[in-house]
Each structure stands twice: as structure tokens, then as C-alpha cells.
């Protein structure tokens, strides 16, 4: 067999073709990675259409002022403040996501995980939680309180406008 000449300087055409291969290979690799990442992207969770995200909490009178009612299936608390305003709070601690129970005796949400505490309006009483509990949109139709649990609303502080009041009869 003839020995291949290796000591000859590479022709520019060969160099070019080599680079071309390299470039095409790189593009193919990027496409592959993109494909895999797209495949792995979390899609819509199964059975999560809009139906069922609006929870009917019940008639306005059922909720006394200055009380907190837990909704286990909806994963939220319906709080009625002293002045009668409604607020729906996520039960997920804003620190690292533990479920916060309402401690009625001390009138606060006390996170068991790292000791954060929130008041009835969801505001942080003691850290490490960095922001108030997330809220859900509340609406009152025909004297029935409804909570839309589709999207938690992140807040940096409690605002009075967030409260929903029943229409004065």
C-alpha cells in the first residue's frame, strides 16, 4: 500500500472542508441538546384545565370577622379580617414552601419548618420568610365567596386594596 503523505502542508480546500464538518457537527449538537431540553420541559400537568380552579367557599355569613378557615382541597385559607374584608391566602410558606398551619390561639400562621410566622393578613411577623403569604383572587357573587386558585399572586407587602368586601345589603 502507498503510504499517505502527511508532511505536505494541508491544502486550503481540505482545511475548509474540515472546518465545515466541525461547524456542521456543532450545529447538529446544538439541535440535539435543544431537542432534549424541549422534550424535558415540564408541560401542562395532567387534568389541569380551568374547570375546578374556582372554588366556591360558601356564603358570606358563614365566615365570622377575624376568623381563618382552611380549605384543604383548594390548598388555601380564607381569612376574614376584623373589618369584614376577605382575603384568600396560599398555605405555602414563602420561605421554602412548607405548609403553614393557622394557630388560632396565637392568631398567627406559624411555619413548622424554620419558624417563620405570618399574621392574619399574611404579613411576616418573624423571618426567615422574605415576603407575605401569596394571595388568591377573591370575588363575591350573589353573596357567595369564590376563590380563583389558578394563580397565586406574589406580594411584597399587604395592601388594603387587596381585600374584598361583600356588598352592603
Amino acid at each position: 500500500m502507498k503510504k499517505q503523505k502527511t508532511d505536505q502542508p494541508e491544502s486550503s480546500r481540505r482545511k475548509f472542508l474540515g472546518k465545515l464538518w466541525l461547524g456542521l457537527g456543532a450545529i447538529a449538537l446544538i439541535e440535539l441538546v435543544g431537542l432534549i431540553l424541549t422534550y424535558l420541559r415540564p408541560g401542562k400537568p395532567r387534568g389541569s384545565d380551568d374547570a375546578g380552579t374556582v372554588v366556591e367557599a360558601g356564603a358570606v355569613e358563614k365566615f365570622l370577622p377575624d376568623s381563618v378557615t382552611a380549605f384543604v382541597r383548594g390548598k388555601f385559607y380564607l381569612c376574614r379580617l376584623e373589618d369584614g374584608g376577605f382575603l384568600a391566602l396560599s398555605r405555602k410558606c414563602t420561605h421554602l414552601g412548607c405548609t403553614v398551619p393557622w394557630v388560632d390561639k396565637e392568631k398567627k400562621f406559624a411555619c413548622p419548618c424554620h419558624g417563620s410566622a405570618f399574621d392574619i393578613r399574611g404579613e411576616v411577623i418573624s423571618p426567615p420568610a422574605p415576603r407575605p403569604l401569596d394571595a388568591y383572587a377573591v370575588s363575591i357573587e350573589n353573596n357567595v365567596v369564590k376563590v380563583n386558585t389558578k394563580r397565586p399572586i406574589k406580594r411584597s407587602e399587604f395592601r388594603k386594596e387587596a381585600l374584598v368586601y361583600p356588598k352592603k345589603a
Binding site: P45, C98, P112
Partner: protein, 463 residues
């Protein structure tokens, strides 16, 4: 060239057994004078992986403490028991817990297999960490082993992730909440932490998608990575001409010295370590069951909810620092420091000497004692005395619990470093080691505090 051996009269006369044997191991038939039964076969097999000879000095137990070898044994134990567990385990939130209970109560040796997997996994972390310390303290990260240190760090991270992804699989309260808070931490990471969290959870909350992600990562991706990384790790040990040569603090760098055949000198030692380790794990797995708490209940967080023990140091930091610092800035700095250790400029190096030199030993001890005193004081001060928010109302917590304390700590360490450096006239190697020991002690104390001194609502408490 020998002619083709079609009608080899010798082979014709052999028993069927022998002929089949030779067909499997042809080498034995071709070199009958060299073979002594199957031993030859195994020897040549072993020599595919190990050097033929090794320097006698590196066989000393007090060089390696058998730690790297133990890590290998544990990895194989984990793969073996893991494959068996796969037959029983069902990765669905409604069924995972029940499949484990079934495995433990109904399957013969089911509990034992689970225990072996559990204890091997936890022991692997300890062993790998000790191995990492021994490599550091014998200066085995210096050239030409610099990049193997990086391979080692990568292995360490991979082993940590393996443990972590396995933690969720039993789907009990312990698992569910530990993974909730650990993945919750990602939200504080800048540059797409929330996005990464969404990806690994496969949604906004821990659920079926999280479990199937963790299952795939734990049982396929990470074991694959560990095996590939281990292959590179050992190849680099070979490339470096074997292990670092051990020597005393005042000895000159030794030459390779006398070499001895790997078989039996090294192999025998390795087998002894492996057998003792396996026996130990079996005993442990017979007497101590892997924990399994109540089935996961997303509505009820246990009090206190703790991260797995190996993340306890970070969890403890989380109580003192702003999450961005505890989970991102500080780990990032630690990783940068570890990666740069072998690449710093050392005017002189002493690979193979435990703790660099006699002076290095004294300085390391000072570093450890300082860490031992300063860390608990820091924890107590932060818990009971310091209340920046009351002192300077309205200060953003990024400053009060992040920039300021970290800057103070780093300034303190810098002061300590300068004083010690001047006082001892120490070399770079000695000072780096001292600072390493200081942070190591601090981290161990944070971990111990998190595991044993945190009671309900994460208040400080006696164990």
C-alpha cells in the same frame, strides 16, 4: 507464524470440559507453560485495570486509609442493591410508599436489601468526604494530580446529588418535606433559579412529575455519570504514576523506591478492606433498619422539617443568612475556593507530607481551635443578641443578613490569616491549609448544630 491450529492433536485429546474452557479463555491454551489454572486468567483480568507493579511505599495504609477503595466498593454495592430495588419499587406518588412497605414486609430479604442500599449510600458520603480530606491533607492535589482533584470534586457533587435524588423516592413525610424545602431553595437563586426549580419539579409543586424526574435521574443518569467519572479518576491516578509518595515532614522528596508486584501485594490489601467493609455493612443492615415515616401528606409539614443530614450545614446557614447568600453566594464561593486550591501559586510544595510540615500541623490545629470557638459564638450571638432590624430599622435583609455579616466574617478570617502568616513566617501551603481547616471546622459545627441542636420550630435546643 504458526500454522492454523485446525487439527491440533493435543486439543483433540482434551476433555470436553477443557476444550470448552479453552474456547472461552484461549490464552490459557496457547501458553500452557504460563498458566496455573484459573488464577492466570484472573490475574490478567486484574492487570487490565491495575498496574503490574506498584511502589512499595504507597501501599502504606496510613497514606490512603483505604478510603478510595472503600468508595469503589460502596458504589458497586449501591448499584447491585439498587438494581434489586428497581424490581420492587413503583415510582408513582400513590404507590411508591406502599411498594416500599410491601418490599419490607412481604418480600424475603426485602428489608435487608433496602437497608444495605440505605447504609451504603450514607456511608459513601462519609467515606468520600474523608477521602477528600486525606487527599487534601497529604497534598495529593499538587501537579500532576491537579485535574484529578477536579474529577474528584465532580464525583463528590455527583454522589451528593445521587443521595439527594434517592431521598425522595420512598415518598414518606421525611422525603416529601425535605425535598420540598431543598427544591424551594432554588427560588432564591438568581439567573433562572425559579426556572430550574420548575424543571426539576416538573411543575410548580412536588408531584408525579417530580417523582418520575428524580427516579430517572437517580437510577440512570447519575449512576452512569459516577461510573464514567470513576473511570477517568482512576486513569488519572495511573497517569500520575500512581499515588503520591508518602514521606515524613522533614524528609526530602523520595524517589519511586522499591516496587513490588501488584498481585498479590496491592490486591490482597484491597480485598481485605473490601471484605471488612462489606461485613460491617451487612451487620449494620441487620441490626438497624432504614427509616420510613408516615406516607407523605402535602397538607401537614412535620415540626421541625429538616433537610437530609448532609445538607444540614446549609440549612443552618439558612437560619443566619439571607437565602441568596446561604444557598448561592456562599456555596459558590466555597466551590470556587475548592476548585482553585490546586491552581494557586505555591512557591514550594510538599506532596506526600501529612499536613505539609510540623509548622503546618501547629497552624492547622490553631485553625481548628479558632473555628471550634468562633462558630458556636457566632451562632449564639446571631440567635440571641444580634438584631440588626431593631438596631437599624428598615435595612434591607440582603444587607443585614447577607453582605454585612459575610464581609465581617471574611474580614475576620483575613485578619486571622495575616496575623498567623506573619507570626509563623508561613508558606502559602501552610496558610491555605490553615484557612481550609478553619472553614472545615466551621462547616462541621454548623452541620452538627443542624442535626442535633435544633428542636421544634428550629429553635436551639439540647439533643
Amino acid at each position: 507464524m504458526r500454522p492454523a491450529q485446525q487439527n491440533d492433536p493435543v486439543a483433540e485429546q482434551l476433555s470436553l470440559f477443557r476444550r470448552v474452557g479453552y474456547s472461552i479463555f484461549p490464552g490459557m491454551a496457547r501458553q500452557p507453560e504460563k498458566r496455573r489454572g484459573y488464577r492466570h486468567f484472573f490475574n490478567t483480568l486484574i492487570l487490565h485495570f491495575r498496574p503490574r507493579i506498584v511502589p512499595e511505599r504507597t501501599l502504606r495504609f496510613t497514606l490512603t486509609w483505604g478510603l478510595g477503595g472503600m468508595a469503589v466498593v460502596l458504589v458497586f454495592m449501591l448499584i447491585g442493591t439498587g438494581l434489586l430495588l428497581k424490581f420492587a419499587y413503583e415510582p408513582f406518588p400513590g404507590r411508591a410508599y406502599d411498594s416500599i412497605v410491601h418490599l419490607q414486609n412481604e418480600v424475603l430479604f426485602g428489608q435487608l436489601i433496602r437497608n444495605i442500599h440505605h447504609w451504603s449510600a450514607n456511608l459513601l458520603l462519609v467515606v468520600v468526604f474523608l477521602h477528600f480530606l486525606r487527599v487534601f491533607f497529604t497534598g495529593a492535589f499538587h501537579s500532576p494530580r491537579q485535574f484529578n482533584w477536579i474529577f474528584g470534586l465532580t464525583l463528590f457533587v455527583t454522589v451528593l446529588l445521587s443521595n439527594f435524588t434517592g431521598y425522595l423516592l420512598p415518598w414518606d413525610q421525611l422525603a416529601y418535606w425535605a425535598i420540598t424545602i431543598c427544591t424551594g431553595m432554588l427560588e432564591y437563586m438568581p439567573f433562572g433559579g425559579a426556572k430550574i426549580q420548575h424543571w426539576i419539579r416538573g411543575g410548580t409543586e412536588i408531584g408525579p412529575a417530580t417523582l418520575s424526574n428524580f427516579y430517572a435521574i437517580h437510577t440512570a443518569i447519575l449512576p452512569g455519570c459516577v461510573i464514567i467519572l470513576m473511570a477517568f479518576h482512576f486513569w488519572r491516578v495511573r497517569k500520575a504514576g500512581g499515588l503520591v509518595m508518602p514521606r515524613g515532614p522533614d524528609e526530602d522528596a523520595p524517589s519511586r523506591g522499591e516496587t513490588v508486584p501488584t498481585i498479590p501485594n496491592l490486591i490482597l490489601r484491597e480485598v481485605v478492606v473490601a471484605l471488612v467493609l462489606i461485613a460491617g455493612i451487612l451487620v449494620l443492615s441487620v441490626v438497624l433498619n432504614a427509616p420510613l415515616e408516615a406516607k407523605a401528606n402535602p397538607g401537614l409539614s412535620p415540626n421541625p422539617t429538616k433537610a437530609p443530614w448532609y445538607f444540614m450545614g446549609f440549612q443552618e446557614m439558612l437560619l443566619h443568612f439571607h437565602p441568596l447568600f446561604a444557598l448561592f453566594v456562599i456555596p459558590f464561593l466555597i466551590m470556587c475556593a475548592l476548585v482553585s486550591i490546586p491552581y494557586m501559586r505555591y512557591p514550594e510544595t510538599t506532596p506526600g507530607v501529612w499536613f505539609v510540615s510540623s509548622k503546618g500541623r501547629r497552624m492547622a490545629l490553631t485553625g481548628a481551635v479558632t473555628g471550634l470557638i468562633a462558630t458556636p459564638i457566632g451562632i449564639l450571638l446571631d440567635e440571641y443578641v444580634i438584631d440588626v432590624v431593631a438596631w437599624i430599622p428598615g435595612i434591607p435583609s440582603l444587607l443585614s443578613n447577607g453582605v454585612i455579616p459575610l464581609a465581617l466574617i471574611l474580614a475576620g478570617v483575613w485578619g486571622f490569616y495575616s496575623v498567623m502568616k506573619r507570626r509563623y513566617g508561613a508558606s502559602r501551603e501552610e496558610t491555605v491549609q490553615m484557612v481550609f481547616v478553619f472553614f472545615l471546622t466551621a462547616f462541621v459545627i454548623l452541620t452538627v448544630t443542624g442535626i442535633w441542636f435544633r428542636g421544634t420550630a428550629m429553635k436551639l435546643a439540647w439533643p
